[in-house]
Structure formats: structure tokens, C-alpha cells
Symmetry: C2
């Protein structure tokens, strides 16, 4: 079975987010003043093969723990959906 995982990796809330601060300043210069806070992280889309959605969850969690997220400084969350294979003619 094919699955798609949509993963968000964000800096932990208690950490400073210099990138977010810089973008907030940039928006101000563009006279977009109503933005009170900006936080920036990664959005990662994985396409993977797995026997079940549970196995897909374990694979994605393992990938986040080992490579996709720096678990000391970042939090990650993800959603998984099955990819319907288009019917072959």
C-alpha cells in the first residue's frame, strides 16, 4: 500500500525563532502590520510503501526521530493518508 505523510517540524515554543523575527520585520516593511507573531519550520511530504497505516506511522516516526527533526530543539507532528493507486487500463 502507498501512503503520503505530511510532516511539520517546528522550533520548540520556548526557543527564540530569529527567522520568524526577521520575516515579521519584513512584513512590517511591506506595511503588513497586523501580524503579531511568525514561526517558521519545515513542511516535509513523504511518499512511502507500507503494509498498513500503523506501519506507515512507525516508519514516519522513526524517520523523524533519526533524521527529519532535531528532537532537542524541534517538535514534529504528522498526518498520514493512503494514496489511492489510479486504476490501470
Amino acid at each position: 500500500m502507498k501512503f503520503v505523510a505530511e510532516i511539520n517540524v517546528m522550533p520548540k515554543k520556548e526557543l527564540l525563532d530569529p527567522q520568524g523575527k526577521a520575516v515579521k520585520m519584513g512584513l512590517k516593511h511591506l506595511h503588513i502590520d497586523n501580524v503579531k507573531d511568525v514561526r517558521i519550520g519545515k513542511h516535509i511530504v513523504l511518499t512511502l510503501e507500507a503494509a498498513s497505516s500503523q506501519e506507515a506511522r512507525e516508519i514516519v516516526d522513526n524517520a523523524c526521530q533519526k533524521l527529519l527533526a532535531n528532537v532537542i530543539m524541534e517538535d514534529y507532528s504528522f498526518e498520514i493518508r493512503e494514496l489511492q493507486e489510479s486504476l490501470k487500463q
Copy 2:
């Protein structure tokens, strides 16, 4: 009214994603072989003030068009939700 916008900015599908390729290789080295494709973009969370959710949508779209996304090479999508102000004692 306060709103939170969750924005995903991803490289256009037809473009090469060298970052994604590098992560895919990295996962292989970690024996996480079932991942067929990796695409990496930005996840941006904005907190903003607006008179209505429609106005919030316009502010976020404007921010994406002018700063948050490179509309030549990236696609963006976002979801907006109202932030319930916690009741003051």
C-alpha cells in the same frame, strides 16, 4: 479578532528538489528504505489581528504573494482558524 494561519510553501512539483533527494539518500543510509519520494518546504505559522476571517485570508494571501513564497518557483496553501481569547478573570 485574533487568527492563526498555518501556511505550507512547497517547491512546484515540476521543479527538482535537491534537498528532498538528499534527505531520501539519508533515510536510505539509515535503512529506512520504503520512502519513495521526499519533498521539503516551509511551514509558517502566523498569528494576526483581523476584523473577519475573510480579511485574515486577504492579509495572509498578500503576505504570501509579497514575501513568504517565491511564486515563480513555489506553491503555497494555508488554513486559517480563529484564536479563542482566554476569558480574563
